[in-house]
């Protein structure tokens, strides 16, 4: 094939991708029209837009961009359908649910622990160690965060104690899965059971019936002096918890580390082809230990955010499956920090909406919370593009 033909082919694909992304954006707009503050009370414009989006999606599909094509078609259907539903419901209800700045702020609150957990998952799994134990490591951070803040009298100590606790549990996971070459999924299941037992035991033993104290030191919110007075932005991010900013910075930092530094490349090569990595002089064992411990520390930070950043209290099994949503974030975000940030925000947004949905229907709001799990099933099924894990994931490594 000549170079010119290849270039033409590439250009065609690029055009198709632009159209695809544009169509998805239009699908969002279709719904947005029917929501506050615009509040178009007729569904005609949205449906017309939706049909256009679906048509564009089909065209993109025809160009071989399957993932984007189906994405655009889904965006068209959801956008138009959502708009029709919105025009059918009362303006008062809509304004109760859709307050964009408040939704955005709530999204960040819900996304923060997921993002910490997901970053932990990415570090561990990029090194080739499956980490189902994210849930347990988060739970450790949850309890030890508030315990440290209570005993030490400061949230800083709380965070440090949480990080140590998460790191220690992760060390157990590393010892079993790297040194003992135990099955990593079974080990992760064990880690989760252990964390529920340990934190529950210590909580009952130490705090008993009274529960954690009300006046425990909490991670402060960051008030941005100038930004907080800007109308929309101020309400959304003017007063956000310090941990949220930390999580976003860590996501950027991890992306740079993984894809722009030699150490990051080494970490990824250990997860993709450990034998080759070892051949060029890297220590697979050491890298995996460090990665798993780092993942425990990160996950524990997410847990600590729940107890001393967000709630200010602890209860048995407080994480209640958030670690598994974090796992879902890792998979949907394709083991990339940027993808994780996007999906943590998406799932955080769905939680934020679910929190307000009872205005319409109690039971519908409950069902909405299952969204992250269902979406993950769809993603692992490869319907919207396959998500490929690191090649050597889950396989114990033996030195020759």
């Amino acid at each position: 094939m000549s170079a010119a033909v290849a270039t033409a082919e590439r250009e065609r694909t690029v055009t198709a991708r632009h159209v695809g992304w544009g169509a998805i954006a239009l699908g969002v707009v279709a719904w947005y029209l029917a929501l506050p503050p615009i509040l178009v009370r007729s569904f005609v414009p949205s449906v017309v837009l939706g049909v256009v989006v679906i048509g564009a999606g089909a065209w993109v599909l025809g160009r071989g961009e399957t993932r984007l094509g189906w994405g655009a078609i889904a965006a068209g259907v959801i956008g138009a359908g959502g708009a029709v539903a919105s025009t059918q419901s009362g303006v008062g209800h809509l304004q109760d649910v859709v307050t964009w700045s408040a939704l955005f702020a709530a999204m960040l609150r819900f996304a923060t622990p997921l993002l910490f957990g997901a970053l932990g998952g990415i570090v561990s799994e990029r090194s080739g160690v499956v980490n189902i134990g994210i849930e347990g490591m988060m739970l450790m951070g949850c309890y030890f965060g508030i315990y440290g803040a209570d005993i030490g009298g400061s949230w800083v100590i709380g965070l440090l104690v949480a990080m140590v606790a998460g790191g220690v549990l992760a060390l157990v996971h590393a010892a079993f899965s790297v040194t003992l070459r135990a099955d990593q999924i079974v080990g992760g299941v064990a880690i989760n059971l252990l964390a529920v037992g340990i934190t529950g035991y210590l909580y009952v033993d130490h705090y008993g019936d009274q529960g954690t104290p009300d006046d425990v030191s909490r991670v402060p919110d960051v008030t941005l002096p100038l930004i907080k007075d800007i109308p929309f932005v101020g309400d959304a991010i003017g007063k956000t918890n310090l941990m949220t900013w930390l999580a976003i910075l860590l996501a950027i930092g991890l992306a740079v580390f993984l894809f722009r530094t030699p150490q990051g490349l080494r970490l990824r090569s250990v997860g993709e082809h450990p034998r080759a990595a070892e051949t060029v002089g890297l220590s697979v064992i050491r890298t995996r230990y460090l990665a798993v411990i780092a993942s425990g520390v990160l996950a524990a930070l997410g847990g600590a955010y729940l107890s001393i950043g967000f709630l200010g209290s602890f209860n048995q099994n407080l994480t209640a499956g958030r670690g598994y949503i974090a796992l879902a974030v890792v998979i949907c975000g394709r083991w990339r920090p940027g993808g994780a940030l996007a999906f943590a925000c998406l799932f955080g947004f769905s939680s934020a909406v679910a929190q307000r949905l009872p205005t319409f229907s109690d039971s519908g709001a409950v069902l909405f919370q299952a969204l992250p799990y269902v979406l993950t099933i769809i993603v692992v099924a490869g319907v919207i593009g396959r998500s490929r894990p690191p090649a050597a994931i889950g396989q114990p490594y033996t030195r020759e």
């Binding site: 189902i132 157990v172 079993f176 003992l180 070459r181 135990a182 099955d183 990593q184 999924i185 079974v186 080990g187 299941v189 064990a190 880690i191 989760n192 059971l193 252990l194 964390a195 529920v196 037992g197 340990i198 529950g200 035991y201 210590l202 009952v204 033993d205 048995q316 099994n317 209640a320 499956g321 598994y324 949503i325 796992l327 879902a328 998979i331 229907s361 109690d362 039971s363 519908g364 409950v366 069902l367 919370q369 299952a370 799990y373 269902v374 993950t376 099933i377 692992v380 099924a381 490869g382 889950g394 396989q395 114990p396 490594y397 033996t398 020759e400």
Partner: protein, 408 residues
């Protein structure tokens, strides 16, 4: 094991490469857990209990009196000849509780074990159990006029089929597009929780019709309740579900070891590529096995609902862990029928022995003890994950532990 086992096990022995040869983790486990005998699991349990005792000691309690109180809480002292006749009635009540809990543990244990034997890791027992219990409570609270026996059968089968369908989603995805069953079953677990919260929550379609402010299902009608054959039905006596569970163990063993289906399942579990080249349909086996697993787990849900719960509250859904315990049961029981039975009895005893109702609170706080149970289970699973290593070392011929060679 049976004669059918020999060629398969022999074929597997030569196989394991230095890194497990790219097999799934479940496949590796399935291959390894057939050896090792009874010593390794027993050691695992002893170690876990010792570590648990350490936790008790460190937090300022007496491990010996605590374990003694838990043992009495299990009611297993009823079996001891020297238990005084004054203690016997209480022990009998406790033992009934233990056996009631053993029933779903056997069934969810089988749901995990059967998948393991086919090289699949079914973490979704919890979701399948929950979906089954929803179906059971629906069928049990509907059809009020039905006769007792058919009603029980209908409710139990409805539960089993819904469980099979739920697990079948993961099986179908694995069979058709190769979606990782670990991930899909985890996600199906949480989806099932929210489905239950939706069905029985405020305003949900199956919420109690008489009490609109309580998030609970309707009670099942008396005709759908399982017969209680030991103890007082009013005090949660032992229901006939135990026989269903025992029957399931027999069916599991027969299907796995004495049928063509079971042979295929084990062949696929040991080496899917070899099974495929000998003409077996790997995809069909994956789907079938997951459905059967869901069938077992759904049945577990039915036994609990029809046997002693009689209704489902959304609070119970959120804290239910039976399906997760099934993983520990299967792993400790080495995915065999006999092993699953004893592991289920052990964990059933632990659960009932540390419950509010059975544990003497003057010796050890039940709230602490139930967490102790979870710690012990976690340790058991952790140690089992490593004993896979012990056996793999034995099999790959390294003489790290020569004293064990004669046993395996």
């Amino acid at each position: 094991m049976s004669a059918v086992d020999e060629p398969l096990a022999g074929g597997a022995l030569g196989e394991p490469g230095p890194e497990g040869g790219g097999q799934t983790s479940a496949a590796r486990l399935a291959a390894y857990v057939q050896g090792g005998g009874v010593i390794v699991p027993l050691l695992t349990v002893v170690l876990a209990f010792l570590a648990g005792g350490l936790v008790i000691l460190v937090t300022g309690h007496n491990p010996i009196s605590t374990y003694k109180a838990i043992f009495n809480g299990t009611g297993l002292n009823w079996l001891l000849p020297w238990t005084s006749s004054a203690d016997r009635p209480a022990a009998a009540l406790n033992l009934q509780q233990t056996l009631i809990l053993t029933v779903p543990l056997i069934l969810t244990g089988l749901a995990v074990a059967f998948a393991f034997r086919c090289g699949l890791f079914n973490i979704g027992g919890q979701g399948q159990y929950l979906m089954g219990s929803y179906a059971a409570v629906w069928a049990g609270s509907s059809f009020a006029g039905m006769a007792h026996f058919p009603h029980v059968i209908v409710a139990a089968l409805a539960a089993a089929f819904v469980g099979a369908l739920w697990a079948g989603i993961a099986g179908l995805l694995k069979a058709t597009v190769g979606a990782n069953e670990v991930i899909s079953t985890i996600m199906l677990n949480y989806t099932a929780i929210y489905v239950g919260d939706y069905l029985f929550g405020l305003g949900g379609p199956l919420q109690n019709g008489a009490q609109r402010s309580v998030p609970v299902s309707n009670d099942i009608v008396p005709g759908a309740k399982l017969h209680v054959f030991w103890g007082d039905p009013e005090l949660q006596g032992l229901h006939i579900g135990i026989f269903v569970a025992l029957l399931a163990l027999v069916v599991f063993w027969v299907v796995l070891n004495r049928s063509t289906t079971g042979y295929e399942v084990r062949a696929v579990g040991l080496n899917p590529e070899a099974a495929r080249s000998s003409g077996m349909s790997v995809a069909r086996n994956y789907l079938l096995v997951m459905a059967v697993c869901g069938f077992f787990a759904g049945l577990a849900g039915a036994m609990d609902v029809l046997g002693w719960q009689f209704r489902i509250a959304t609070n119970d859904i959120d804290i239910s862990q039976i399906g997760f315990y099934g993983i520990a049961v299967a792993l400790l029981g080495r995915n065999t029928a006999v092993g699953t039975f004893f592991a289920a009895l052990l964990f059933g005893g632990l659960l009932s022995g540390t419950s509010q109702r059975n544990l003497d609170p003057t010796i050890f706080e039940p709230e602490l003890a139930s967490n102790l149970t979870t710690i012990i289970q976690g340790l058991v699973v952790l140690f089992v994950s490593a004993d896979v290593l012990v056996i793999s070392i034995l099999r790959s011929g390294r003489r790290l532990m020569p004293w064990r060679r004669s046993r395996s």
